[in-house]
């Protein structure tokens, strides 16, 4: 991987794309959790590829390539959300995006709940912790927040999700 990063830093776009391809699914899902629709999430992926290739010479340590990409993805996603603030979605597209093959759903928390109940900070921290498996220390670096706050946001997000579950159980 180090060699590929070096090649990419020397301007080799094929090396860069090979590296990027390894993480593009993660970047897409991270973006989707923020922007909640396919079109914007794809825009984010394109923007991340654009910015990352343009700035790859600033990446000092190839080991941090994935974290570096995710940090760019978070920034780009927030930009898209800010631009879209005035737009009102009558029907959230993610209802259609979530697979219908839900046979195995004795699941307590659904993707829909995750997207609907949590604010953007909470969604990204839940993503980084439970999907990417990052430590609190790494997440604090990624989202540029104090570690204590990252923990607070995550616990609050989980409390919200648990509360939703309890309420759903009650009405069943």
């Amino acid at each position: 991987m180090i060699r590929l990063v070096q090649k990419a830093q020397n301007g080799n776009d094929k090396a860069f794309l090979k590296l990027f391809q390894k993480y593009e699914v993660d970047i897409y899902r991270m973006a989707y959790v923020y922007v909640k629709n396919e079109s914007d999430a794809l825009d984010v992926v394109q923007e991340v590829a654009y910015k990352a290739f343009k700035k790859i010479d600033t990446l000092k340590n190839p080991d941090f390539f994935k974290s570096w990409l995710l940090r760019i993805a978070i920034t780009c996603s927030i930009d898209v959300i800010r631009k879209n603030k005035q737009v009102v979605h009558l029907k959230p597209e993610y209802n259609e995006m979530i697979g219908l093959e839900d046979d195995d759903i004795p699941l307590s928390i659904t993707l829909q709940e995750l997207l609907e109940q949590l604010n953007e900070h909470e969604r990204s921290i839940v993503m980084l912790k439970f999907y990417e498996g990052y430590s609190f220390k790494e997440i604090a670096e990624l989202v540029n927040m104090p570690l204590g706050s990252v923990k607070s946001v995550l616990y609050r997000a989980l409390a919200k999700l648990r509360k939703e579950c309890k309420e759903a159980d009650f009405y069943e």
């Binding site: 830093q9 020397n10 301007g11 776009d13 860069f16 794309l17 990027f20 391809q21 593009e24 699914v25 897409y28 899902r29 989707y32 959790v33 396919e38 794809l42 825009d43 992926v45 394109q46 991340v48 590829a49 654009y50 910015k51 290739f53 343009k54 010479d57 340590n61 080991d63 941090f64 995006m97 979530i98 697979g99 699941l107 307590s108 928390i109 659904t110 993707l111 995750l114 604010n119 900070h121 839940v126 993503m127 912790k129 439970f130 999907y131 498996g133 430590s135 609190f136 220390k137 604090a140 540029n144 927040m145 104090p146 570690l147 204590g148 706050s149 607070s152 946001v153 609050r156 989980l158």
Partner: protein, 358 residues
């Protein structure tokens, strides 16, 4: 929470995903052209030269007491300047005990313990001929590992982490050097105690753990315990249009700690819940931080930051003490220890200088 991961995996991946990545790269390539790449090729060897020079310039000071424990703890691989200074000054109680963890085939060498009335440092290394220790951590900060003290009467109490401590992995020797930082054990001075490290944290594509206990027994010698001096200050200054108050300064043989309150340290979200946020001062402090994979944090030379100046001598930040728990709206800034406390100045960037005398 693995179900959360499964839920996120339900986000369908559109077919044109990689094509969009290609489009982004194409656009960047078009804008970037060839000139920058040539420039970068010239810059990389220059940077490598600087690295070699600074490595050769590093000469640890020798002292007889050091021979008693692993020199790694005084080396550039350990990112705690306070610990290194304390060791160079001969503080700490040498332990030199070895424990063999048969089940995991790991040999643990306990080296040294230092405590004052605020924290304890436990220095040890562990190695193995059969197990790859690269992902093995004794992480009492956020991992599964825990630290306990057992007293003569059989009482067992957990000791909480302070900061995240220091760790270095030597791939050639498959050996980990760890300086754990946790609650003070000063109250046990003169007593026979046992410290127990419980469970190994595995950081490898997420977190895992291995159940074990690594014990070390000794009598805590009071002569190695250092004292802490607290000076109330309440001194105000302004940085980038924000107001900060240095509430107090704590001096010890392990660190110099500044307790600071500021006008931009609290973030309130849309639900009205308040969180600590990184202030402009903290970002300035972190600006001089350099991340060294496998060895934690050091000062990035030449970069603007926040430093102490003790009669002309620069005192570096202790970045391994980042994220020390503090009350909401307070930032704890930790530096290496200072000997001359009479003429200490806090320097923020190039222009702001605040004397830390009353």
């Amino acid at each position: 929470m693995s179900n959360l991961k499964r839920e996120i995996e339900k986000i369908k991946i559109p077919k044109g995903l990689h094509e969009r990545a290609k489009l982004g790269v194409k656009q960047a390539k078009h804008e970037r052209g060839g000139k920058n790449f040539l420039f970068n090729k010239l810059v990389i060897p220059a940077a490598a030269c600087v690295l070699i020079v600074s490595t050769l310039s590093f000469t640890p000071v020798g002292a007889a007491i050091k021979e008693a424990y692993d020199k790694i703890f005084e080396s550039k691989h350990i990112d705690d300047p306070g610990l290194k200074a304390a060791l160079k000054d001969g503080h700490g109680q040498v332990i030199t005990q070895t424990y063999f963890d048969k089940e995991n085939e790991i040999t643990v060498h306990f080296e040294n313990v230092i405590t004052d009335n605020a924290e304890t440092k436990l220095l040890f290394t562990f190695e193995s001929e059969t197990t790859n220790l690269e992902p093995y951590y004794i992480d009492i900060f956020e991992g599964s590992s825990k630290m306990f003290i057992v007293t003569e009467d059989g009482g067992r109490k957990e000791l909480k982490n302070i900061g995240w401590g220091s760790r270095h992995y030597n791939k050639e020797e498959n050996k980990v050097a760890t300086a754990l930082s946790f609650d003070s054990i000063k109250e046990y001075e003169g007593q026979a105690i046992r410290l127990e490290i419980e469970d190994i944290t595995i950081w490898n594509e997420g977190m895992d753990e291995i159940k074990t206990v690594w014990p070390v027994s000794f009598t805590l010698d009071k002569t190695y315990i250092t004292d802490r001096e607290i000076v109330e200050l309440n001194k105000e200054f302004t940085f980038e249009n924000e107001t900060y108050t240095i509430k107090q300064v704590e001096y010890s043989e392990l660190e110099t700690k500044l307790i600071i309150k500021g006008s931009d340290m609290i973030y309130t979200d849309e639900d009205g819940v308040q969180y600590q946020q990184k202030s402009k001062l903290e970002l300035q402090f972190l600006n001089a931080r350099q991340i060294n994979p496998g060895s934690g944090y050091t000062v990035a030379e030449g970069k603007s930051g926040v430093f102490l100046n003790a009669s002309g001598e620069r005192i570096n930040p202790n970045f391994s003490k980042g994220e020390v728990d503090s009350e909401l709206g307070t930032f704890i800034m930790v530096f290496a220890p200072v000997k001359d406390r009479s003429n200490l100045v806090l320097e923020v960037g190039d222009d702001i200088k605040i004397p830390l005398s009353k």
